[in-house]
């Protein structure tokens, strides 16, 4: 039998492997035996690097010589909330330079939370003749000059997606750099751009790309121009409008409604900045087919909002502001039975008083009415254990549950008890829970529940919770699949961290800020665990100028085979063997 296995032709194995695309499966294949490792690495086409500092580009290139798609993530997630100081790192240029030399046939680059310079974009534009897809998600550091280089040089570009990135010195002229002969665009997302883009260039571009399926405009594109764009692209599947207001004029309205009616394939809507409610009915013709509706930036309230959402009976994903209120969520639960994802964002997150009537009841309604609910992000100002227990029982398919009670350490407002039992029910009932964010008043007990029940949990976000190191210990010792843990403002210190040091090598990363981990513990970890980078981030100055048992400001620990990085700014120190 062994002989037969060794005669198994490589080409056949490669052919079989071409059907295996998931990273986990590919990794498993590579562990079977040496020859499978070799065959697999030569035919791997896509790679995902969850932490750009976990590996050096040369290592990736050496192992996988034939990549066509590279996806990288840079800064830790809490960078989204300004907790990672500017200049921390995540600069993509070294990767781009290495990829440019190694992979002339590279087709896709996807980056998240990375610093991307115009120079990097120019290298991308000029190095890859068959470049097809560029996704810059929550990136920064580039301007429209870099985009112009991409537009001018990437003749086969299919996708350009700038979701949530910060783009400097925006000017709309870069769109004109797409040559007149360029027709391959299938996806364009410029919703994050601040200034106007050249509308005529946009219109011409949209009109000449017959494969354009996704178009997300920025708020500078006025409503009265939207109809023209839609008529030029009736094949659109995903649309993000620009500003959605204008003086109400019957001919503008009917023109717009007519244009929407012509988009028979439309399944996803977003945008809606600055809504003038009188124009909302123009989208009604497409509502019944919508599976995704993103009103996260839409200042629609009351009946206007409920009427719109109630039209969308096929909805699977809804992102909305808390203007929807409990009454709107009840209506949603009644008519959108296929709902799998709900995100409710706060319209006035910094206000001391609630400005809308959105409470725990809204989420309870949705959990009751929408049996397929899998993913929830919910900002609210009050919660009870009872509500959480109910929600836990109603939605067994939940894989991602993120609750943000706006006031830190808010208790069950009825019983004034911690919300330990409520979240305990959540983790006990959600057998497939992969992501969880906690909030409200929580003791070590909730972490005991999490460590006991959340066996499939991969990502946990914790803020203002817990009493002692025991809390952290429960999580690190109990959550077998834990990959990312991010903690802020919790009284977790050295003990749990040091007792579970080995666990940290099985995770992608751990972030702790405003906790109680001492500099001494950081040094110890760094010294004893060579495969971890232990980064102390402290803007107060060098940690060795303070007593060793003084807690560090911020701590970022991640596993790596690349060793310590050398691009750290002055407020970041890596604890390796030398620094102790």
């Amino acid at each position: 039998m062994l002989r037969k296995a060794s005669l198994f032709p490589e080409e056949m194995l490669e052919h079989v492997l071409s059907f295996i695309t998931s990273d986990k499966d590919r990794n498993a294949v590579s562990l079977v035996c040496k020859s499978w490792y070799e065959i697999e690495r030569w035919c791997r086409k896509r790679i995902f690097v969850g932490n750009c500092y976990a590996v050096r580009p040369e290592m990736v290139i050496r192992r996988f010589p034939e990549l066509r798609s590279v996806e990288l993530k840079g800064k830790p997630h809490f960078a989204d909330f300004d907790l990672v100081p500017d200049g921390w790192g995540g600069c993509v240029y070294p990767w781009i330079a290495a990829l440019a030399t190694a992979y002339p046939l590279l087709e896709e680059i996807k980056l998240k939370r990375m610093v991307v310079s115009d120079e990097s974009l120019e290298v991308i534009a000029k190095s890859f003749k068959n470049f097809k897809v560029l996704v810059l998600s929550s990136c920064e550091g580039f301007s429209t000059d870099g985009l112009a280089a991409v537009a001018a040089n990437c003749r086969n570009l299919r996708g350009l997606d700038l979701r949530e990135s910060e783009v400097d010195d925006p000017s709309g002229q870069w769109l004109s750099r797409f040559p007149g002969s360029f027709t391959s665009l299938a996806s364009l997302n410029i919703s994050c751009l601040g200034a106007e883009v050249s509308f005529s260039a946009l219109e011409r571009l949209v009109g000449r790309c017959p494969d354009l399926k996704t178009l997300r405009l920025n708020h500078a594109v006025p409503l009265d121009k939207l109809a023209n764009l839609l008529r030029g692209a009736p094949q659109l599947v995903e649309l993000g409008t620009g500003a959605y207001s204008a003086e109400l004029q019957p001919d503008v309205f009917s023109n717009l409604a007519g244009a929407f009616s012509g988009c028979k394939e439309l399944r996803s809507l977003s945008g809606f900045w600055n809504v003038f409610p009188g124009y909302l009915p123009a989208v009604y013709p497409v509502c019944s087919g919508l599976t995704s509706l993103n009103l996260r930036d839409a200042n629609i309230q009351g009946a206007d909002l409920i009427n719109l959402v109630s039209q969308c009976r096929s909805l699977q994903r809804l992102w909305v502001l808390d203007y929807i209120e409990d009454s709107g969520l009840k209506a949603l639960a009644a008519c959108c039975k296929d709902l799998t994802e709900l995100r409710v964002f706060p319209s006035d997150p910094y206000g001391a008083e609630p400005n809308v009537s959105l409470t725990e009841r809204g989420l309870v309604s949705v959990s009751e009415g929408c049996p397929k609910l899998q993913s929830v992000l919910y900002f609210c100002r009050q919660m009870t254990n009872a509500a959480l227990v109910t929600i836990a029982k109603n939605s067994p398919r939940m894989t991602c549950f993120r609750l943000c009670i706006i006031e830190p350490r808010a208790p069950d407002y009825q019983t004034l008890q911690p919300l330990d039992l409520g979240f305990g029910a959540i983790v006990e009932n959600y057998m497939d829970l992969r992501r969880l964010s906690l909030s409200g008043l929580l003791t070590d007990r909730v972490f005991e529940y999490i460590g006991t029940y959340a066996k499939k949990l991969e990502m946990l976000s914790v803020a203002f919770a817990g009493d002692s190191d025991l809390g952290l210990h429960h999580v690190l010792s109990g959550c077998e699949k834990l990959c990312k843990l991010e903690i802020r403002d919790c009284p977790f210190g050295d003990n749990a961290l040091l007792a579970n040091a080995a666990k940290l090598e099985t995770m992608r990363s751990l972030w702790m800020s405003s906790c109680s981990v001492s500099f001494r513990a950081c040094k110890l970890l760094g010294q004893k665990m060579p495969r971890l980078n232990v980064e102390v981030i402290d803007e107060r100055g060098p940690p060795d100028l303070r007593p060793e048992n003084c807690p560090v400001e911020k701590l970022y620990i991640y596993r790596t085979i690349a060793g310590p990085r050398f691009d750290m700014p002055g407020f970041v120190w890596t604890m390796d063997g030398d620094s102790v």
Partner: protein, 231 residues
Amino acid sequence: MELQLGLRSLPTYNFIENFDLNNDGFEPRDQMLGSKPWISCEDGNNMDYKRSSEVAFGKNTRYASRELPLLLWSGQPNDEDDWNGEKKISCSINKNGEEENRVEGWPPINSWRRKVLHHDQDQARHVMNSSRMAAAGNYQNGDGSNSKYVKVKMEGVAITRKIDLRLYNSYQTLTKSLTSMFAKCQNLGNDAARYSLTYQDKDGDWLVAGDVPWQSFMESVQRLKIVRNAG
């Protein structure tokens, strides 16, 4: 390195059944809305952490009965002494002193979105206004900005709302919208006739809405209040 915590068995949830909201017989207490926080982190002081560390390390903690042999990696004993005195446990470090007592990075809203859309940011307003100028076409607002958010309070209702007056061009459209906004939660229906709309003008005086032309009203209104008619 065995860690024995001797976890107590976790409680069952039977006593929670009484509160099962599936029966929808649950009345929230309105007066709890906006209630004071249990522990406020915004004071920016160290009280919370000192207290919790005392609870954790030896002073009548409810975990005292179970074993707590968290072994340090290097085999050194727990340095419980460190928790008293010298250790400065910092609360969230709020660098933006000028922002009103905000906890940094909380609530967890994407900072990019905050910068672009937050009304207090001058740059954002400039960007938004230039786009609104383009979008709004013929809108004319005397003060040059294209949005006018004012607070609307209704007598007897706990929630103060905010609306953008720019969306309306007459008292009729305004009152119609306000009626639907508030009537829905108050079950007013026909009772709408028993309420009046008042506003506070630039001088701080409260006036009945409707006496001055719409444009003048728009220029001077600072906030709105819906009051019950006397008698």
